[in-house]
Subunit: 418 residues, 2 copies
């Protein structure tokens, strides 16, 4: 179907931004020297992307879904299924899946939503939980698994479950653990009532189980907050997404640092490649990531890569940190420029969303992008950045356009019509 072309979507997570007063009104990308990304812009076609539609901020899950061509309005049910898949649970259609935090409760109030950002022995806590629920609850199978740090996922598998229930994680401390409740529109529905009851029983029994678990006795002895409760949130039913290879006829890989996005890749049946040294933080090894992309390009038609650290700087409101992270993305891009065959490779350089340091959260601002490599028609844009890319020949596209444009340049998208 195609002559050995390779498609690479390369994202600096949350890399786009807004003018920063301390940078004389430049954005972090504009203020940071980015010779490699500028070369991509000079040799490529630039523009803006709205992942979903102008103004609408996306999450990591919905942002990557839509760029991969899966419409979140049609398919997104919540983060839970991707979280659960990402930690290694074999999520099946019909399952209810939740993202969970290990947290600390003291005197019936939430003292720490992340149990002191616990990093060790959560596997032992998970084992205890799965053992305690080995017979399920009321005929419903319970599957729990820890992820990195305080993160975990929960899957409920059985009949008569309903995702329309509230989060148990209140996203604040100093309050009692909320009960899971049916959403208003399902208040009288038996499955929603039952689901809420199951979740509440799970949370209560886990709390009783973990309160005096040996791991937590040790944490208390070390002056650390115990991981004595689990707070489920972000429930979703497993969506019926067509595997990436069936959707596009491409052998796709994903090289990303966020479990939630990895979970999406696994859900889509892509090769999810973990890179030693890819920490997801400001200390990540960007050249190891770039090298992994180059290696993967030898064996895959398509690669999505995301370097997380610019988003971290954005959330922290730290312009210097974000600029340093953008410099890391730039070095990775430089490695790709030096080590790939650009006669056969198409690159999209962009971000999944903007995370301006001025608002410390994802925004719905348009995201700068550049298409580079095989087949593109270079425009007059001379550097990669918010305002520079706005003048490019791509104008303003949607996330759902990306896979078609990539497939067009790569020669893998069939003609529509005769």
């Amino acid at each position: 179907m195609h002559d050995d072309s390779t498609q690479i979507i390369f994202l600096g997570d949350g890399m786009g931004g807004r003018p920063v007063p301390s940078l004389d009104g430049q954005t972090c990308i504009e203020a940071q020297e980015t010779p490699a990304m500028d070369e991509v812009a000079r040799g490529g076609e630039c523009g803006y992307m709205d992942p979903i539609r102008p103004g609408v901020a996306v999450g990591s899950d919905t942002g990557h879904m839509v760029i991969l061509g899966y419409d979140p309005f049609q398919y997104y049910t919540g983060r839970g299924p991707f979280e659960a898949k990402g930690v290694g649970i074999d999520v099946q259609p019909g399952d209810l899946a939740f993202r969970c935090n290990f947290a600390t409760v003291e005197e019936n109030l939430i003292a720490d939503r992340r149990a002191g950002r616990i990093t060790e022995r959560t596997d032992e806590l998970s084992a205890a939980i799965n053992h305690a629920f080995s017979n399920g609850i009321d005929g419903v199978e319970v599957i729990f698994k820890e992820s990195v740090a305080h993160r975990a996922a929960l899957v409920l598998r059985g009949d008569d479950l309903d995702p329309r229930v509230t989060d148990v994680d209140p996203h604040e401390v100093g309050v009692a653990v909320p009960l899971c409740r049916p959403l208003p529109e399902t208040a009288d529905d038996a499955p929603a009532q039952r689901t809420a009851k199951l979740v509440n029983e799970f949370v209560q029994r886990v709390h009783e189980l973990l309160e005096d678990h040996e791991v937590n006795r040790q944490r208390r002895a070390d002056g650390l907050p115990p991981a004595n409760i689990v707070l489920p949130r972000g429930v979703g039913t497993a969506p019926d997404l067509k595997p990436f290879s069936e959707q596009y006829g491409l052998n796709g890989a994903m090289i990303v640092e966020v479990d939630l996005v990895r979970g999406l890749g696994m859900y889509l049946g892509m090769s999810v490649i973990k890179v030693p040294g890819a920490t997801g933080g400001p200390d990540t090894d960007e050249l190891a990531i770039a090298q992994a992309v180059v290696n993967a390009a030898a064996e895959h038609d398509f690669i999505l890569c995301n370097i997380k650290c610019p988003d971290v700087g954005g959330h922290d409101g730290d312009a210097e940190q974000k600029m340093a992270a953008i410099a890391k993305v730039d070095r990775a891009v430089g490695y790709l420029l030096d080590n790939l065959n650009w006669d056969s490779t198409v690159l999209m350089l962009s971000a999944d969303h903007c995370t301006p340091v001025t608002i410390q959260d994802h925004s719905g601002d348009a995201i700068p992008l550049a298409f580079y490599g095989r087949g593109v028609r270079p425009d007059d844009v001379r550097s990669y950045g918010e305002r520079a890319c706005a003048g490019g020949s791509v104008h303003r596209i949607r996330g759902l356009d990306v896979m078609n444009i990539m497939g067009n340049y790569a020669g893998t998208l069939p003609k529509f019509g005769a």
Copy 2:
């Protein structure tokens, strides 16, 4: 949900246009000095808006609906419900509502569609009409109310009514008053047959009632055309629109000069603020309007303001008049620039549609716009106008994008995803 941001959509009605030969091919905006609007463009993000889709001209009702985020394709049934709400009738779901003109019939032909643009004592005519129909027609309640000048609204409330009937107003003079007829597809439907019959009985009895009414005897004596008939048109069933506050979680106000748009605001439950001196004509007090916006900003999260006079100049085909009206809009914008806190305020400056003097009607041309204030990324556009804004970083958006973009800058739009 947001930190005291204010969102202002500021529209010069019909302000956009086309090249005018007498202005050396400039548009009226381009030919008129507009220092304040140029400052908004310089400090803001510019682009084009198509209210519905490229090329499609909108009315005042559909244009404002779509900019407020209510899709006319989904919700618009006709102007009648907004006209009726705007003149103060308590329109209820299921009502049939019509826009009406007081008009003049002589020797069974329409002599003047606006009864000499009557400006006085229409309240007495309305009272006579409502008195005559105090028992309704055939079990259907009849509610009639005058608006400014020759304008009025009619509501029919009862069972088995159908909006699929023709206008009685033929939009020309020298012809007989047309009968209201069922539309072809409903010719055999009893409710449409019945509705047409009710409308015809209303029109006939109103004509008999007003022909010798004292107001009209006086008008004849004064050499003025009598308001001796009422011509209903623009029928629609009351649409089920979610109130603005529920849709957006914003406390919204509307400061406009057109009853039809006021009616939309009232229909949406917004605060509809009338400004003394806001006439809707070329003599309007634009600084009083701007001051009302500044005052309203102290108590509302969101304000939509429309200054009508540029549209009047466009309809009149009078470039000088339209330019003077645009200068008024510019002075109002200058007042906003001087009197609002732009760290917390987001402004969209635009129009609901173009009304080129060369065609004297609404056109489907793209409308220049600028977003200004909190959160925006200024682009390179140096002045506000059709061709200048076309080069801006917003590129080309739809009316339905506006509320999302405003909410993004203001920080009031929730993220979609995790």
